[in-house]
Every structure is written in C-alpha cells, then in structure tokens.
Amino acid sequence: MMITAEKLKEMQDVYKTAVSLRLEKNDRNEQPTVFDVLICGGTGCKSSGSKEIQRQLEYELAARGMLDKVHVVQTGCHGFCENGPLMIIYPGQFFYCRVKPDDAGEIVESHLCNGRPVERLLYYDPVDGKPALTAADVSFYKKQKRIVLEHCGRIDPEKIEEYIAVGGYAALVKALTEMTQDKVIEEVIDSGLRGRGGAGFPTGKKWSFAKNAESDKKYIICNADEGDPGAFMDRSVLEGDPHRVLEGMAIAAYAIGADEGYIYVRAEYPLAVQRLKIAIQQAEERGFLGKNIFGSGKDIMLHIKEGAGAFVCGEETALIASIEGRRGMPRPRPPFPANEGLWGKPTNNNNVETYANVAQIINKGAAWYRHFGTAESPGTKVFALTGKINHTGLAEVPMGITMREIIYDIGGGILDGKKFKAVQIGGPSGACLPEELLDLPVTYDSLTEVGAMMGSGGLVVMDETTCMVDVAKFFINFTQSESCGQCTPCREGTKRMLEILTRITEGGGSESDLELLEILARNIKQASLCGLGQTAPNPVLSTIKYFRDEYEAHIKEKHCPAGACESLASYIITDACKGCGLCARNCPVHVITGKVKEKHCIDQERCIKCGTCYTNCPFDAIIKE
C-alpha cells in the first residue's frame, strides 16, 4: 500500500509532540516544567567532552528525580565550534557555550529548577561585552540563513522520528506521488541550484543528462569525499542531519530513473559513516528506502563506500574508479558520467550540500528558493570559517553577501586584534584574496573573475603573521603529494613549483623565479587532465598577483615580512636583556656571547636560527624579525 502525503502527515503529528518544545515560540513569563536540553554531538564538541557533559547532566537529573521532565538530546553540529561544547535549552532557546561537565549541577539547579539562567555560561559578545541570552541573539547566527543546516543542531540525527517530525521525507513523497520525473528536474532547473562541490554546474541540467541517457540501469552517487583542507560542512551535515541527504539522493534517483546509489565517504569521518548507517537502516525499516519505497513500486538501494584516503577521489571519474575497486585515477571526459559512469552505466554525481538543498526546493518550490542569493547564484552556501578568526565554525549565508560581512559580522573579526591580511577561499583550487577585495559579493562568477573559485566553501582567514609565500608553498605541497601521477604537467609541474617556492622561502630565490612560476602555472593549468591539476596553480598565481611584494622581499632582501619563514628569520637580543647567560648556555652552536649582567649578542653570520634562545629567554628579551 502506498504511503501517501496524508499518512506521512499523520506520522509527523504523532512524532511532533516529542520535539514540540523546540518548534513552538515560548512565552517566557512563566517557569516551564518540562525542558529539552540539546547538547552538541558534532566532532568538535565531542572531542571537547560533550559526551561527559551529557552523562553528568543525566546523573544530576536522576539525583533530583527529574529525568521524566527533562529530555536530554544529543544533536549534530551547531556550527559555532569555537565556543564548544555548546548546549541549548528549550523552551527559550537559551544558549550556553564552553560548558564543562562540572557545570551540569548548576545548570540543573539554577536554570531547570529555579528558572535562573547560568549567566557565566552565556555567550558574551567580544565587541560590546553584552551577554546573548538565546542563540538568536548571538552575533554569529544573526546574519545567517539556514536552509541546508536548518535541522543541524536541532534534532537527534540518530532518530528518524525527529526528522519526520520536522517535515522530513515529505518532499520525497511529494515527488513520488504528485510529480513526474521531468517535473522534478524542471523544478530543480528553475531553482537555479548549482553544484556545491565547487565547480557550480547547474544541478538540474546535470540530472536531465542522466535522465535522457538510455539504459536498463542507472546509478546515483553522493560525493562525501570532502578533501579540501579547512572544509567541514559536508561532515557536519552528514553527522547532524543524515536523512536530509538521503532524501535528496532518493529524489534525484527518482528523477533520473536510478534504483541504486552510493555514498562515498572519506575514511577520516567515522562518525559520519556511523550516523549514515543508522539513517539508512531506519529508512529501510520504514520502507522509505530499499525495495518498493513508500509503496510506489520504485526501488532505491543506497550503499556506503568508505574512501581509503586520496584527495583526487573528489574528482568524479576518479571517485567512480575508486568505487569500482581500482586506483582512483581520473579519466578524460567525455564521455561524461551522465552517459558512461559507474560500471559504464549513466550516473549522476552530486556532493552532500547539493543533495541537502533538494528537499526544500521540492517542498517549497523554485520561486521560494530564488528569494535567497543572486540571480546567477541562487540559494545559500555553507562556509567553514577557520584560521585566525574569532568565531571559527560553520556559517550558512545567502549568496551575494560580501566577504567582509562573513569575516567581521559573523566571524567576529581577526583573532587577538591583529590585522587582516588575506582570506583563502576554495581550498587547494582556490585563491588568497587581499583586503581590497573584501567587499566583493560572494558568488560563483564573481570569485572566478578574480582568479578564485567557490570550491567547497572553506574560508581560511590569515593575519599579518601569515606568510603568503609559505601559504602558496603549503598548497602546492598538498596538491603535489596528492597528484595521482598519471599526467606529466600535474605530476612534474607541481613538483618543480614546490622546489622553486621552497627555494624562495629558504632565501635562495632569484629574480627570474617569479616569471618561471607563472610560466609553469600556465602550462599546468592548460595541459593537466583533471580539475586537480587544472586548478593547482591558483594559490600561487593569486598570491603572486595580490602579494607580489612579499615574494620580492623574500627574493631580493632575503627577508620574510611576516616573520614566518624560519630560514629567513633573525633573532635579536634587545635592551631588556639582563645578562643571565641562559641563552649562551643553551645555544647549540655557541654563537651567543656577553658578560654576566650585561647585554648579550648573537653572531648573525653563524646563527642557525633554531629559535632555542627565543623560546627559553626568561625576560622575553629576544625578538624574531
């Protein structure tokens, strides 16, 4: 029998009671008697001890006989990882940060028993110093628009009931019962959704290619091989709202006519794998996935494939090779996977965040989705804010917002009051953008114009102490070691670039090196087989373009302006020296001289720049330049 929209609505009403505290607006005038306490169980908060907090809280509740009144829920990531472990208490959406297990007693006694929020655990805004009582008051969340992360941190990711309670699987039922395959694809095309994995190809168009390919068998793939260093949004979605991704995949499978699919997850994400396994099992038990889903006569079998550690497997043809059990090496396209993909069959491949957008587009329509973002890049994008920034975490914002708003309004500005230097966007394929581009609206096309790319959405903020040549070297070192070695431009070219950059950071660079880097970069971009090689030079090109003076300082003056390149640093003893002689005794090459109780001196010619004197000086009298 078909499970219809009405039947699903009945289920939703039943399960709703369990999450009602989190859905309804609260009248704060009276002291509530029942509570939902949400503790973040994302990877970040878990490693800072959220599990122990939960145990301690349950112990305190049991001691007061309150377990039946307080519902403790372990949720997925709330996004504000910098201040974890996070706890949110409903009704009222009270927001506690940096909670410790020892705080459990006070939270129960003060907040849950006596209605007095624990003030010292609230979030205090670094700008005005005022406390934020609820999550909505926290500056980090104010400018966000959560579509993909809507349920992350609000529901228990290990309970399908909670996903159904917040309207889950309604889009899949709607697609199966009210929409033809073409209608689903049309809706996604109209929404303007573009691939969130980085390249930004229109999702609906991709689906139509796979739909139009004739075959007895088709596949669907979810790329969860989030390999960009500094990006963790896909991980958070999988850990915090796995059913959302499954629902998006199932809708795509229906649209293109696939009956089987794979989720290719990075090996480094064990928690995501575990939660996906639970989610698939629960969905199959209810007939939402598997054979004859919702009684519609359609089958959708989803499997998990764990990656084995290779960045290049994020490239779709390499990913397919890896699922087939081979070395994950890309192949030339065409034929595109939409015509010849997994096992030679038509295959559609999107990333986690793309699939996580689909359910809401089907539920609320393309016109609703287009309310957010810009005409060319509709919708929202999840960014992972990291580096030298006050609010590290995940932020979902409408496209078209400026970089400045993301870094300063949401990210809370630069750590330790230092000066902003650059923001790296798009991972190893992206670029470092300088201060003068901070007011650039963030869309797929605007980023491409300035030599960057959206990539998966990692934003790494760098301050004045970060050396841009060192950053370029860091990324080339990464792509060089992750190159699959199949094509010469990428394999040899990135290696030569790394050699040149290493030379520059060690003081051996010559003036022709910059030109040589640019020629190499151009050749690698034009001649490489796959996206990895074609974009690998971007971090080098963008740093040369926007921070040429830093390269020149390394080459001409043998000086690192940021003081980050060890081989170019010089250590100098200042007048604060008390003449204790500790540095002279510690120096492994005995080049520090001076009389007791008099200022000492380092022989710069013979100094090996190990930094031992600098780290051990009891009077902080040694500076690094």
Binding site: G44, G307, A308, G328, G387, T392
Partner: protein, 165 residues
C-alpha cells in the same frame, strides 16, 4: 627488534587469521569491485597489510597481485609495514597550519624521537600527518587512535601521549 624480525613475528601471528580473511572474502564474494573494502577489513585484522595476506587474497579472488599492489600503494590508508599500537595523526590542514600545526608536529617528533611516517622501536606509537581532520574549529588538532585532541599546545603533548600505553 629489526624490521625483518618484526615482520616474521607478525607472519606467525597471521596463520590463524587466514580463516578471518576467508570470512571477509566470503562477505564480499557477490559484490562487484569490493577490493578496497576487502583490504580495509584485512588491514583491521593485522593493523597493516602483510605480504602473505595480499598473496592469499590475490590467490582467492583471481585479482593479479600487481593490481592489488597498485591499489594498496595508491591510497594513503593502506600500510605495508607493521604499525604501532597507537596511531597519532597530527593535522596539517590549512586551518591548523596557520594556527601552528607544524609546531605541534615538530614537538611530537621530538617527544617520540621519530619522524612523521615512522613507528617507535617498541611499536607503541606510529606518527602520521593528515591533510585535514575536519575539526578546524579546534585547531591545532591531533588525533590519537579514535580520540581527537583539540587546541593543542607544545606543553600538553606529553600529557596526552601518556594516556596511551
């Protein structure tokens, strides 16, 4: 103990594990392209991939040993050398890099007296680096076995490592 002796110690140990490999092969016998999960499970069994096990898998699956070797050496997850009881992964991702991931790595190397990619003589620790753990909010981060340790400082390294015997 020399590397050769270490290997033979593992090899003796591998004999009763043959039936376990049979079990793994049996689980995947009807699945297309299951070489990678087979190798993953086999590695779980031994902590690394001994040559004898790879030859056995080649024999039973009719996949040429050269193909298997190609796959094993392609993916960073697979190891052909015995590994320590505890695996330390120091994150060298971008976020950790700008927050001092390199300093943490150097300090761990100094503490253990080995370089990244190596195992201590007593097989207590294997030290590795990783491109990103995805816990950038806690940078710099290192992982020991399944535990993620965030906001690391040089001073804390010895304390963290002491928890693992």
């Amino acid at each position: 103990m020399s590397l050769v002796e270490k290997k033979s110690a593992y090899r003796d140990d591998s004999v009763p594990k043959q039936s376990c490999i049979d079990e793994i092969l049996n689980t995947y016998k009807d699945e297309k392209g299951a070489l990678i999960p087979i190798l993953q499970h086999t590695q779980n069994l031994f902590n690394y991939l001994p040559k004898s096990a790879l030859l056995y898998i080649a024999d039973k699956t009719d996949i040429p040993i050269s193909t298997i070797y190609g796959v094993v050496t392609f993916y960073s997850q697979f190891h052909l050398q015995p590994r320590g009881r505890n695996i330390i992964c120091v994150c060298q991702g971008t976020a950790c890099h700008v927050r001092g991931g390199k300093i943490i790595l150097n300090a761990v190397e100094k503490e253990l007296g080995i370089k990244a990619g190596h195992t201590t003589e007593n097989l207590r620790f294997t030290l590795e680096t990783i491109a990103c753990l995805g816990a950038c909010g806690l940078a710099p981060v290192m992982k020991v076995n399944e535990d993620t340790h965030g906001r690391m400082t040089e001073e804390e390294i010895a304390k963290v490592l002491a928890q693992y015997k």
